[in-house]
């Protein structure tokens, strides 16, 4: 089975919420040094709820698709809910089990989001 499931290819080709959020209350960048993937996430948080999301980045299809899928998913969620997310939630959203080498790519956006909201 290919790890490039339709949902991943779709979000890679047509990323949702790509861009900069001018009125973001939180922004956070992370880089995956081994492969050069970069992600910057922008969140607008009002009363503990994520009301708007954007991301910028470059890198492999897995890292970029995972960012798009994750952000779409956390819009409307509370900070507490977001803090509790783990890699297994990402895996569920992507619908594939990745090799350890690619897990780092897939969890980059989540790490950026969680780093941003715990600051």
């Amino acid at each position: 089975m290919t790890i490039y499931q339709d949902i991943i290819v779709d979000h890679y080709r047509n990323p949702r919420n790509k861009g900069v959020l001018e009125d973001a209350t939180i922004s956070e960048s992370l880089k995956n040094y081994s492969c050069g993937d970069t992600i910057t996430v922008y969140l607008n948080v009002q009363d503990d709820t994520i009301t708007d999301v954007r991301f910028k980045g470059s890198g492999c299809a897995i890292s970029q698709a995972a960012a798009s899928i994750l952000l779409e998913n956390i819009k409307g969620k509370s900070i507490n809910e977001v803090k509790k997310l783990t890699y297994s939630d990402i895996q569920e959203l992507l619908g594939v089990k990745l090799s350890p080498a690619r897990v780092k790519c897939a969890e980059l956006a989540l790490k950026a989001v969680q780093k941003g909201v715990t600051k």
Partner: protein, 410 residues
Amino acid sequence: MINPHEIKKDFPIFKNNPDLIYLDSTATTLKPQGVVDALTEYYEDYSASVHRGLYPLAARATKGYEDSREKIAAFIGAASAKEVVFTRNTTESLNVLAYTFESLLQEGDEIVTTAMEHHSNFLPWQALAERKGLTLTVLDVTKKGELKNIDEVLKQAISKRTKVVTLAHVSNVTGVVNPIKKIVSRIKAVNPECMVIVDGAQSVPHMPINVIDLGCDFFAFSLHKMLGPTGVGVLWGKKKMLEILPPFLYGGEMVESVTWKKSTYKEVPHRFEAGTPHIAGVIAASKATEYLAGIGMEEALMHEKKLLSYGLSELENAFGSDIVIIGPKDTSSRIGSLAFLFKEHHPHDIAELLGEQGICVRAGRHCAAPLHIALAIQASVRASFYVYSDRKDIDTLIEGLKKVDAMLSK
């Protein structure tokens, strides 16, 4: 002329994986039946320790081990088998040098290396320079990944303070071959005392090598990159140079006489082989060099260059400027480690999607971050060839790349 179709028959992995397209021989090569058999034979027939036992099995193991040293010494043109030290791999050979040199160098001494090194010939020296307060000079490369203005640069970089120059014979990314003989003579003309170390991990497997003719003082390589088993490397050094170095690991096998106060050590090479070695591996390693000698290294090199030319022109025909080759396109000064970029597709996606089609290539920085930094690229895809590679491997790669493109193009 090499017939890869016939050669493939000697490699059991192709029987077990009939559709395998293996294009990662720069990382490690496949193993012929004779090598696999030699490993098994040792474990099944005479698995005794070397250099100690007085019974016939141990004598057979010792003879196999030392015969292998003779054969490998002959394969690289060493003056004597005493100059061949067995290690685990190139990385260990180079680290042995970086650690044993430590006691011979002083603050302010200079080490010179290049931007095209594998990490195993870069990090040990960077760390040594840090520990001892030495100056580490890194020679830069051109956009094609070749050393810049060698004559000029060496004139500037080498002085009486330069104690070590360490460089790759062949790059594991671009396949660029450094003119070692010329470089050594330039260095020695300025400073005859300067030690020249050559990382031969990508040269011995792919071309005829004569270490004496090269003129360097030390030369390191790994047998697993030339049809041999993993876990066996060589540190070759001129005998009088090896003799200057203190032991690195202390323990059994390397010692001559021991008292409670002081001990003396065996002569080279055994002084550098503490502990029970990879006996089966060493014995099997000479089956690998015998296999290569049977083919002929000139033949092997020619085969690889032909495949490289074919690969370069087929990639160009199929994808034009969508493929960017990392390294020179002129095959006269390089061999068949073919690194490239393909459109905006990330190398990891390319390698993963090729892998799903049974095509094995490497993606990333290939343990050569300094080169990727010099060329300002994040990562690359690398397809590499060996004696069993053929045109079909390249054709399949190109078909595979078309599928990758269809999948990922926006």
